[in-house]
Assembly symmetry: C2
Homo-oligomer: 173 residues x 2
């Protein structure tokens, strides 16, 4: 949303969260991070986001403690961006919004399905497992292609990797 930063007169947790997360592209980065995207080039390929905006959002999210910048190679020095505990808590925001979109904005059906991996059972709209009834943390969730995955507009490495079931948060590559 390119939300401006000036909700300052809205002193409310919700407005503050939106200042950080409501900017254009930001929540899509969080989505991709749940899917296991970690590297600059992969975010870039999957999102078609301008490079300058990507760099800035990664910096903002890192400063806010939603992502952590971790070195994965010394020669050459390379970093990847991983969701922190604070970032993983955003699953409780992300999942309901996906559900809402699936219910009201989708024609062909969900593009991705989410299942409790250990129970092999789809999640309820509340985010609980249909079998064991527990509220499932993202670490235990598997993403699978859903009926809406047929019409794949794009064909980058990330999209390809997501055509097979994956555990959330596990690196795609």
């Amino acid at each position: 949303m390119a939300l401006g930063k000036n909700y300052e007169r809205q002193d409310c947790s919700f407005a503050r969260a939106l200042e950080l997360l409501g900017e254009r592209w930001t929540l899509l980065l969080v989505r991709d991070a749940f899917y296991g995207v970690r590297r600059y080039a992969d975010f870039l390929a999957h999102l078609d986001i301008p490079r300058a905006v990507l760099a800035e959002r990664l910096r903002t999210l890192t400063e806010a403690g939603v992502l952590a910048r971790q070195r994965y190679s010394d020669n050459p020095p390379r970093h990847e961006y991983v969701l922190t505990a604070r970032g993983r808590e955003l699953w409780s925001v992300f999942f309901p919004l996906v559900q809402w979109g699936d219910r009201h904005l989708s024609t062909i059906g969900p593009r991705r399905l989410f299942a409790h991996a250990t129970c092999d059972t789809l999640l309820e709209p509340t985010g609980t497992c249909g079998r064991c009834g527990r509220l499932v943390p993202p670490e235990e969730i598997e993403v699978r292609p859903g009926p809406g995955a047929q019409s794949d507009l794009r064909d980058d490495p990330v999209t390809q990797a997501l055509r097979t079931p994956r555990r959330l948060l596990e690196p795609l590559f």
Copy 2:
């Protein structure tokens, strides 16, 4: 967020939901609608949103079926904007984000508390009632000023009305 409208290459329920809801001010309108704000002038007073942007967002949300435009006076013809069932479903997105903001972005503590009105008990972070354990729909929720409500930066009629406990969705005026 002034999110642009062009996530079209991100054919995903989440991206589509963000196209609609991710634009700057939009989710703050939804928040205020939960709090019982219904009229153009009241949104304006509470949000300091440019009038043109407010008019456009109300139109977009109405077209998307999140808000309904209802006539409440014939002479002069006046309308108010009320959350539809589809809009009320956004409670499951709104509440976790408020909680997240309270946990991570608030210094003084929650500005508003949410309670199951019939049980007179605060909601759990999951949105269930701490006493009866049910997932509470917004119609049964009471908003109350929390510890963070001390520092009220603004003093419009909406802010004043919210200084006393209120049932969600009930019109403020």
